[in-house]
Symmetry: C2
Subunit: 592 residues, 2 copies
Amino acid sequence: MASFKVPTQDMKFVLTELFDAPALWNSIPHFEEVSEDLAMAILEEGAKLSENEVFPINRSGDEEGCTWDDGKVTTPSGFKEAFQTYAESGWTSLGGNPEFGGQGLPKMLTCFVEEMFYAANSSFALYPALTNGATLAIDAHGSQALKEQYLPKLYDGSWSASMCLTEAHSGTDLGLIRTKAEDQGDGTYLITGTKIFITGGEHDLTENIIHLVLAKLPGAPAGPKGISLFMVPKIKVDSDNNLGDGNNVSCGSIEHKMGLKGSSTCVMNFDGSEGYLVGEVNKGLAAMFTMMNYERLTVGLQGVGLSEVSYQSAREYAQDRLQSRAPTGAVAPEKMADPIIVHPDVRRMLLTQKAYAEGNRAFASFVAMKLDIAKHHPDSDQRNAAQNMVALLTPVAKAFFSDRGLDACILGQQVFGGHGYVREWGMEQMVRDARIAQIYEGTNGIQALDLMGRKVAANSGEWLYQYCDEMEQYIETCSQASEIPEFIQSLKDSIDVLKRTTEYVLSESASDVNVIGAASCDYLNLLGLVTLNYLWVRMAAVSSSKTDDHFYSSKVKTGQFFVQKLLPEIQGYAAKVRSGADSLMQFNDNEF
Amino acid sequence: MASFKVPTQDMKFVLTELFDAPALWNSIPHFEEVSEDLAMAILEEGAKLSENEVFPINRSGDEEGCTWDDGKVTTPSGFKEAFQTYAESGWTSLGGNPEFGGQGLPKMLTCFVEEMFYAANSSFALYPALTNGATLAIDAHGSQALKEQYLPKLYDGSWSASMCLTEAHSGTDLGLIRTKAEDQGDGTYLITGTKIFITGGEHDLTENIIHLVLAKLPGAPAGPKGISLFMVPKIKVDSDNNLGDGNNVSCGSIEHKMGLKGSSTCVMNFDGSEGYLVGEVNKGLAAMFTMMNYERLTVGLQGVGLSEVSYQSAREYAQDRLQSRAPTGAVAPEKMADPIIVHPDVRRMLLTQKAYAEGNRAFASFVAMKLDIAKHHPDSDQRNAAQNMVALLTPVAKAFFSDRGLDACILGQQVFGGHGYVREWGMEQMVRDARIAQIYEGTNGIQALDLMGRKVAANSGEWLYQYCDEMEQYIETCSQASEIPEFIQSLKDSIDVLKRTTEYVLSESASDVNVIGAASCDYLNLLGLVTLNYLWVRMAAVSSSKTDDHFYSSKVKTGQFFVQKLLPEIQGYAAKVRSGADSLMQFNDNEF
């Protein structure tokens, strides 16, 4: 069966030993009250709640699913009670703006809380995740009045929120949306249209739901430049936040999906629903994008969390399941067979999961650190440099974590053999739940295009080379370099591959713009693996002097596994990029 | 929505233009009645049945699933009627021994029939697939009396069969089975034990089910050398095949699975059930293995079929779905957006599916050709040489087709964006259905170990080098070599990588047996890709002079896509193999 303990030791390692987050928090006034002790207490408390209350309703939630009846959506048994505990213990306000009742904690810390709840129960974790995203947008773009009225109720979990972007004919291409907004001249707008794929659009966890809706005002420019953002409550509220009448917002149906069955995915109908403008007219997409980097990292964390729970479950099974003997002779001769963990190929599967779970956890924290610096560091140069890294690495984190997260869950399922395919064992649910993270919040193809086009080609590789500088500076200053020479060499080599591949794209795309799209997916994988290489080298470096403790010796060995058994994939990705676009574009319509 | 047409043109291309099967059939007396016309008529008729009767009950079968009630299993609506049509039209006897009512058709042809039914409805296709496997074992090892009595009823579809190997504690390691057989001294045995994961162990499609059961006689040697094979009918039959009493065979429950929901996966209880020995005492595993190569190729074909249907469905969606504009400017300015097939990354996904579906189809036919030669060719040298190739390539086919089949289905789902995650669109079912093929009939890890250990290392690479010789001879004699120089060079290079990697494993495994297991999965992928390279070169060669027809120009272009965008992965696989076993084996128990 699936089993799960939050890897708090590893989270602490990343925060304190890898990145020295406490020192960073000390240097940023916004975080001056955050200490290592506080951080660890939060992780420990989160572990209790996620392991004891939220993980136990994961399998049952998948079997039961959400149900829709005449517009009402009921979440699976136990979700409502668990959400109440979650909200009452303050988990809905961790990252919120303290001015309006949030706790103002750094993303470096909250990202681990997100990871653990995704691991325990991805369907459950999505409800607060969407609210988080919406509060970021409201906090960044809403009027002071809107913020004062709505944020406290969203932070304390009395209300939740949804993000209403997609329409049936308009997903990736939001410029095509048809939902209309009509200015009533009194500060309110009437919103009319139908949105699909709305996560948490309707449910029974909170007394009200605040929808952030993209819509077009009459006469707005065509395409993405004519989109505005509105806040539309499910139930109207007065100035004291008393609930009033319904707001003509209705849930037409919920989707029956591959996984995430405890999370409601709704068709939402707005029929002259009263809403409020968030941000400026026709700047709705930009307003959504300000919180997109947080949301994309969050979606990536789903992949990290599911890698972790799948790894832990598969490890336990591989240690217990007796089949055949080790290639070098029986290791448990008193038993009918050896545990399957003795077999090299089973180890390959487990260690691949481990290397991705731990590596991507460090990667997520690395991006979160840049997010925290970009938003709150007192020095503007530091903020700007960090913002470039956030822009560059966020699409990688979202797509790479979710891609490798699916791979990891498939491997964990494989370790279970036939039992992995049977629902009650829980391993196949992880695969089904992990699959969505590659699709929502911008498909991974879109992430790759964003990376290759907007984040690399558009600035002639400036941010990418800035990132390479950071890695090369690390190599120069790494005091443990002499202890881990093979790690340092692997990083030098892979940075070289990354630079040469980047140069190819920059040079070839000048004459053939299709080279960007043709390279995008492979380039994203390349950058993801080089980043993991960088972080595994750093983890090995800080662990290399402490290998008398198995936690640290395991870190060094997992880093070696990564370099020898996963990193070599960069050769293939680089060669694919360098083959250009012709082999894709030469097909005529009738040749598919 | 999912859509499916059997790719009969491509099947014909593989049979006639790529491999000249009619000439081969002419040279083998067993197949002398098989002609190109007959083969095409069979494919056309199979296409009608699979497209019109079997594909339409695929989605509904997934939603409805099999149901168990007090030992009775009911298949989804329509399955019984479709199976009746299937059997009555002769599809259950295609490959059977003509001496007992089979049609004796070559595997090269029947493998395409298997593929099309897996594509249309994998759950449905499994029922006759298991019967096929059982009839091969009975035909090869059963007594004349058993064959005369049972094979005709299995060939005509009145009865079906199951293969009862796995027990709860004994899957990969069949030596551990506990099911007992007791010799009654009258030619019958009483079988007692519980088997799990029995596909088609119970259902409502046929009036009787013949179970092939692995069991141990009292005093049999421990481990795999003490296993015997028995034939146990669900309902006893008299010598005229009239059904009599029940045989104490009962279905205890069915599994609730990730996919394949229309296929019953049964717990089967045998409680002193009367059975007959098949083959010799204690040679049961060997008897099962004689038909294993056929079965493993069959399971691989599930991956090929699902790649095909996923590709066709994704292609149609990508041609219809309008989002955004092509990077080089609008191609459909009269529409609100361009079809997404204009985007390089969408093409990458579609062409990856296409290259695997068509490439693995050719690969399957190639192995099937070797199977036909190994079994029926009049020349014993040819038979032996072909048998070596069958032994070498079958584990690759099973694992590579199912691995890339899953990848292809995931890509097809990805092309659909959010709709890919919603059940009604049908794309996510393909992923769930494809996933099992990596697990059953020997997990892909076991296939890789079989390849690397028994098929390569155990004979010091003799068969592998024999295969390289075949490929190199092709290069020398390829009359189109000058027309397709880059293809020929890619094949030379990849054979070189394959040989050097093989030499590494042979040399290193002499001192460290763990190198075999550590290399196995990566080596299998390497050999799979090199084989596809070989077959794509051959397909490009026979198509290169006919590129005025879009079918042939597409073949050449798809081959180019394969060489440029998929083949480069071999560098990573080779490097991983050459890193040895240390990075896997150095972990202590507490370091996982």
